[in-house]
Amino acid sequence: MANSAVTPTLDLQMLAHLEKIIGHEMMPFLTQQFLEYASQQLQALQDSLKIDDIEAIRQQAHQFKGESLQIGANQLGVLCQQLESQAEAGQLESASAHLIKLKIELLHLKKALSQVNNDD
C-alpha cells in the first residue's frame, strides 16, 4: 500500500481546473453525478464478481478508473487500476477485499468533496 500513502483522495488542482472550464455553479452537479455513478459502478462490480465475469470486471474497473481520475479522485483511480490489472491477469482471489477498499475510499471521497463544496 505504498502508493496509497502518496496518492491523495482528492486532487484539488484537477477540481480547480474543471471548475475553471465548466463554471463554479456546475461543480455540485458534477460531484453529485460522480457519486451516483460511483455507487452504481461499485454495485455493478459486485454483481460481476458474483458471476465471475472477469472481462466485465476489467471493463468496469477501467471505466471507473478513468472517470475517477478525470474528476481528481486519484486514490479511487489507483484502486480501480489495481482491480483492472488483477482482472487482466485473471487473478480475482483478492477482488472481494479490493471492493471493500473501494467502498471505504469512496466514503473518504464523499467527505473530501463535501468539505470542498462547504468551503464556498
Partner: protein, 702 residues
C-alpha cells in the same frame, strides 16, 4: 472564438462522466458537439453527419476507438477527417496503434481540457488550410479542364505530370498513362511542310528559362489517322524563389483555321474556272524564277499560248460551252506536262480568256520546244463535243498558237519577258495558227518594236526622271467667259513626255501609247500623271490660286478599272487640291460600254471633277451619248479646226457642234489652233476656248 460556422465535433466515450465533461467543455469553447458511446455508434454517426473532427476514447466496449478510427479512415469520405484519440497515460501500445489507424494525434487521460482546446484548435486550423489548398487545386484543375486549349505540365526534368482533357483528346494520352514519360514521347509533332518529326526544344525552356514557340506550321501526330494542325508555346514554371520547377505547354487545334487560310491562299493564287494558277501568281513565280536564275545562271523557258478558234465555240454554243472547253484544255495540258517527267518545276497558268502561260524552270530551249509541240499536237487532236439544252450536238476542233521565249539572260525584267512571249505567240498566230514560234531578237514583226517600248516604259516608270509633265494654256475666246472669274484665270491641258537616255529630245505620247495600250500599261501611266500633277500643284500655291481648270487625259482602259477609280479618288482626297479645278479628258473613240464610263464619271463628278470629250468629230460624233453622261466640255478635233478656213463643210460641222453643245449646256474648246485666221473664225462661230501652238507651245512644269 470562431467567425465561421462552428466546427462540429463528435465526442466518443463509454464513460458517461468524462463524455459529459468533454461535451460541456467543447460547447463552452464554441463548438457544436454530438456524442456517441462506442466505436460502432461513432462510425454510424460519421456516415450520417460527417462531423469536422472526432474525439474518441481508445479503450471502449463493443468496438474500441482505434478499430473504429481505422474503419472510418478506410471510407472514401473519411480520408480527410481528423480523429483525435484519447488514451490513458500508461496505455502506450494504444498510442502506436492509433497512429497506424490514421489518427491525427492523441491526448492522454485524464484529459487536461486546456491542452485539448489548443490541440483541437490547431488541428482544425490545419484542416481548413488544407481544404483551402485543396479548393485552390481543384479550382485550378477545373479551370484547366474547362479551357479550350490543350495544357500539359512537366516537372523540372521535362517528364509529364498532367494533361488536361483537351490535351488528352488531342494526344490520345491520359494523365495516368503519360505521367513520368518524356514530353516529346507524349506530344509528338511533325513539321507540316517537311513532314518530318520535330522535338520541342524543352532544354531551352527548362534550363535557360526561355519561352519557346514553334513558328512553322506543325501537326500534332497522334496516329496515322488523327493529325491536328496546332499552334503551341511552352513556358517555364517557377516557384516563389524563381527556381524552375517545371514547364507548361499550351497548344490549340487550329485545323479549321489553317484549312481556311489554305483555302484563301488557294483562291488568291488560282484561276477559279480551271484550277490552274492565275495571272498574279504566274507573275510572282516568274519574278522568283528570274531572281533565282540570276544567282544560279540556269536556263529557263517561257511559253505563251493562245487557243485558236475558241471564239467560235463561245459564240455558237455560249459561255457554258466555252468554260467547259477551257476546263478540258487545262486538264489536257496539265496531263501532258506531267507526262514529261523531266520537267520538275513547272508553272501552268491561265492568264485570262483563252490565254495560257507555262513557265519551265531548268529547261533548255530544245526541251521546251519538244514540249510545246507535244502540247500543240494534243490540242490539235482533241475533239470538243457539246450538246445544248435542245439536244443539238456539235463537234469542234481547235488549235493553239504558242510563243516560246528561251530565257538565257536572267537580267531581263518580267514584263518585257511576257511581252516578248506574247509577241512570239502573235507571230505564231500570224504564221497561220496552230504553230510554235520561238522568239528572236531580230524578228522584224512590228510587235517587237512594241517590246522595246514596253521595256522602256517599265524602266522609266521605275526611274525618278523617266517622264515629264508639260502644260499648254487654254484661252477664253469670248469675253463673257472671263468676267465670271475675277483676276486672270488660268486654264491648261497637262501633257506627258517620256525621256530616253540616248536621245536629246523627249518622246511624245504618239510614240509609246500604242505599246502602252497593248501591254496594259495605260492605267499605270495615267495614275503616274495624276499623282505627279497633284504633287506639283501642292508646291505651287500661287499657280493653284489662279488655276481655274487643269485638264488631264485618261485612257479608256483606266475608265473601266475599278481599282484605278479607287486610287484616283484616294489620290485626290489626300492631296487637298480642290477637285473642281481638275478636268478629265476622254477620247470620243472610247465612248463604248457607257454604263462603266457613267459610273466612273459620276463617282468623280460627285467630288467636283469635270469632264471633257476629246477629239470630238474624229469618228462617229454622236451627241446622243452625251445625254447620259455628265459632260462639261467638248473638245473639237484638231483636223476639223485646221480645215475651217478653207473647207465650208468642216466649218459648218464645227459651227453646228458648237450650237448643239451650247444647247446642251456644254462649253466648247478648239484644239490645234495653228494660225490667227483660224482663231478669228473660231471666235466668230462662238467657240468658248482654244488652245494650240499658235496660242502657246507646251511648257514644262517647273
Amino acid at each position: 472564438m470562431m467567425t465561421r460556422n462552428p466546427a462540429r465535433i463528435l465526442v466518443v466515450d463509454d464513460a458517461p462522466l468524462t463524455r459529459g465533461l468533454l461535451e460541456q467543455a467543447l460547447l463552452k469553447y464554441g463548438y457544436k458537439v454530438e456524442t456517441a458511446q462506442n466505436g460502432q455508434q461513432a462510425i454510424d454517426y460519421f456516415l450520417a453527419h460527417h462531423p469536422d473532427l472526432i474525439l474518441m476514447d481508445a479503450n471502449m466496449p463493443v468496438l474500441d476507438g482505434v478499430t473504429a478510427c481505422a474503419r472510418i479512415k478506410a471510407l472514401p469520405e473519411g480520408k480527410y477527417i481528423p480523429i483525435l484519440i484519447v488514451t490513458a497515460l500508461m496505455e502506450r501500445e494504444w498510442v502506436d496503434r492509433a497512429y497506424v489507424a490514421g489518427a491525427i494525434d492523441y491526448i492522454t487521460k485524464p484529459v487536461n481540457l486546456d491542452v485539448l482546446r489548443n490541440r483541437i484548435h490547431y488541428i482544425l486550423q490545419a484542416k481548413r488550410a488544407e481544404e483551402a489548398l485543396f479548393d485552390e487545386k481543384e479550382k485550378a484543375q477545373i479551370t484547366l479542364a474547362s479551357i479550350c486549349d490543350g495544357v500539359i505540365t512537366t516537372d523540372a526534368k521535362g517528364l509529364v505530370e498532367f494533361l488536361n482533357p483537351v490535351a488528352t483528346k488531342l494526344t490520345g494520352w491520359t494523365t495516368q498513362a503519360a505521367q513520368g514519360l518524356p514530353l516529346n514521347s507524349v506530344f509528338c509533332i511533325i513539321d507540316e511542310k517537311a513532314q518530318q518529326p520535330i522535338d520541342l526544344p524543352m532544354q531551352c525552356c527548362l534550363e535557360e528559362g526561355k519561352r519557346i514557340k514553334i513558328e512553322n506550321p506543325v501537326l500534332l501526330h497522334r496516329d496515322r489517322i488523327n493529325r491536328f494542325a496546332i499552334e503551341d508555346s511552352a513556358a517555364p514554371i517557377r516557384d516563389s524563389q524563381g527556381k524552375i520547377i517545371g514547364a507548361v505547354l499550351v497548344f490549340n487545334d487550329v485545323t479549321e483555321k489553317r484549312k481556311m487560310t489554305q483555302a484563301l491562299a488557294y483562291r488568291a493564287t488560282h484561276d477559279a474556272l480551271t484550277g490552274l494558277y492565275n495571272r498574279d501568281e504566274f507573275n510572282l513565280q516568274l519574278e522568283l524564277m528570274l531572281q533565282t536564275a540570276r544567282d544560279n545562271n540556269t536556263e529557263q523557258a517561257l511559253l505563251y499560248m493562245d487557243l485558236d478558234r475558241f471564239k467560235i465555240v463561245n459564240d455558237t454554243c455560249g459561255h457554258e460551252a466555252g468554260d467547259q472547253l477551257l476546263k478540258d484544255v487545262s486538264f489536257l495540258m496539265k496531263k501532258k506536262i506531267e507526262a514529261h517527267t523531266c520537267f520538275k518545276q513547272t508553272t501552268l497558268a491561265r492568264l485570262g480568256g483563252d490565254e495560257f502561260a507555262l513557265l519551265l524552270k531548268n529547261c533548255s530551249k530544245q526541251k521546251a520546244l519538244t514540249l510545246a509541240h507535244h502540247l500543240r499536237e494534243a490540242i490539235e487532236s482533241y475533239r470538243f463535243f457539246w450538246e445544248n439544252a435542245q439536244n443539238e450536238q456539235s463537234l469542234f476542233t481547235i488549235g493553239i498558237s504558242i510563243g516560246l521565249v528561251p530565257i538565257l539572260t536572267p537580267l531581263i525584267n518580267s514584263k518585257s519577258l511576257i511581252a516578248m512571249a506574247d509577241a512570239a505567240c502573235y507571230t505564231a498566230k500570224n504564221k497561220g495558227r496552230n504553230t510554235v514560234h520561238i522568239y528572236q531578237e531580230n524578228d522584224s514583226d512590228a510587235s517587237h518594236k512594241d517590246i522595246e517600248w514596253v521595256t522602256l516604259l517599265n524602266d522609266n516608270l521605275e526611274k525618278k526622271q523617266g517622264f515629264h509633265l508639260f502644260y499648254q494654256s487654254i484661252i477664253a475666246l469670248q469675253q463673257k467667259n472671263d468676267f465670271i472669274l475675277a483676276g486672270n484665270p488660268k486654264r491648261c491641258e497637262i501633257l506627258l513626255r517620256m525621256k530616253i537616255d540616248s536621245q536629246k529630245q523627249l518622246v511624245l505620247p504618239g510614240g509609246f501609247l500604242s505599246a502602252a495600250t497593248r501591254y496594259h500599261l495605260m492605267p499605270t501611266l495615267d495614275r503616274w500623271v495624276i499623282q505627279s500633277l497633284l504633287v506639283w500643284l501642292k508646291t505651287q500655291p500661287k499657280f493653284l490660286t489662279q488655276l481655274s481648270l487643269c485638264s488631264i487625259n485618261l485612257s479608256g482602259y483606266s475608265l473601266r478599272s475599278q481599282t484605278f477609280l479607287e486610287t484616283v479618288i484616294d489620290d485626290i482626297d489626300n492631296s487637298n487640291i480642290p477637285a473642281n479645278k481638275l478636268c478629265f479628258e476622254i477620247q470620243e473613240t472610247t465612248l463604248r460600254n457607257l454604263t462603266d464610263i457613267a459610273y466612273f464619271m459620276n463617282a468623280l463628278k460627285k467630288r467636283g471633277c469635270r469632264f471633257a470629250i476629246d477629239n470630238f468629230g474624229s469618228s462617229i460624233a454622236s451627241f446622243s451619248v452625251f445625254k447620259n453622261l455628265p459632260i462639261d466640255f467638248l473638245k473639237i478635233d484638231g483636223r476639223l479646226i485646221n480645215n475651217i478656213t478653207h473647207d465650208p463643210v468642216d466649218y459648218a460641222m464645227v459651227k453646228s457642234f458648237n450650237e448643239i453643245a451650247h444647247q446642251m449646256q456644254i462649253q466648247t474648246i478648239a484644239e490645234h489652233v495653228e494660225n490667227s485666221i483660224t482663231l478669228e473664225a473660231l471666235k466668230k462661230i462662238g467657240i468658248d476656248y482654244a488652245q494650240g501652238y499658235w496660242i502657246e507651245e507646251p511648257q514644262a512644269l517647273q
